[in-house]
Symmetry: C2
Subunit: 159 residues, 2 copies
């Protein structure tokens, strides 16, 4: 279906949130409460991003996650790729080569151009841009009026 996984969605939402508070940190619970995301899932995603080198974690009380570098140095491609693994437009190409058979499987080369175009698009979108037209997170969150419980239900159905 050519779409991002929910995990990648969650990861982007979390990264955007961390961008808005940068260079401060936020806990997984803060973020999951704020957007109505399932907390354990988000926690795992954040841990993955730590391993990927895009986040730094702070243990203990008042701990949380923080961007490991400036938001202009992290792209949507970084996040999606870290969470979802390598992106293939078609199964015909892997990261380090092509499928061996079908020397003339014929659609490979044209699709490769599209494939590279998509990666380029994702690579141009930095966290700074992702957060650009977003409200600062402080104070009057527009989501504050909806109960967390309702959000969770909506998530299950629609997100």
């Amino acid at each position: 279906m050519l779409k991002l996984t929910k995990k990648a969605d969650y990861g982007l939402i979390a990264m955007r949130h961390l961008t808005t508070v940068y260079p401060r940190s936020a806990s997984a619970k803060d973020i999951s409460d704020h957007y109505g995301l399932p907390a354990p899932v988000l926690a795992k995603i954040l841990q993955t991003l730590v391993r990927g080198g895009f986040l730094a974690s702070e243990h203990g009380a008042n701990g949380g996650y923080r961007l490991s570098r400036g938001p202009e140095l992290i792209t949507a491609f970084d996040i999606v790729r870290t969470i979802d693994g390598p992106i293939f437009l078609t199964s015909c190409f892997t990261e380090n080569g092509d499928c061996e058979h079908h020397k003339k499987c014929s659609i490979r080369d044209p699709l490769r151009r599209i494939h590279e175009g998509i990666i380029s698009l994702l690579n141009k979108m930095t966290m700074s841009e992702l957060a650009a037209d977003a409200d600062p997170v402080s104070g009057n969150s527009p989501i504050g009026m909806v109960s967390s419980a309702n959000l969770t239900i909506l998530n299950r159905q629609q997100l």
Copy 2:
């Protein structure tokens, strides 16, 4: 994982083949033999493309499938969308709107730009272009030296 399904791959391969023989037709078996694709699966894909209006079918002996219009009027987006269904970059948007909750889910607008970029890329790739740098199918197919059985095995593992 942001990739096309095998069915979409198969569909594109078949459409490219039919482009190279256009305006003649080819049977599902011709195509599946030629590329080592599973015949019943391919048949179903072709039927889907008929319903989508991109192929015309000819019943009976010597029947087969034929492009219903010029290859420059059919795009990769048409095919992928017909086979795999609507393309969403993120679950947040459906074809006719956005997810209702998260009025400020915040990553929607930036991702929408990427989403539209991807569709635009796919929409610019016509069947003519897809087939442009391909060998004509006649006579000395470069795949002729590999047995069909081997191809099938390779397909299972790698395609």
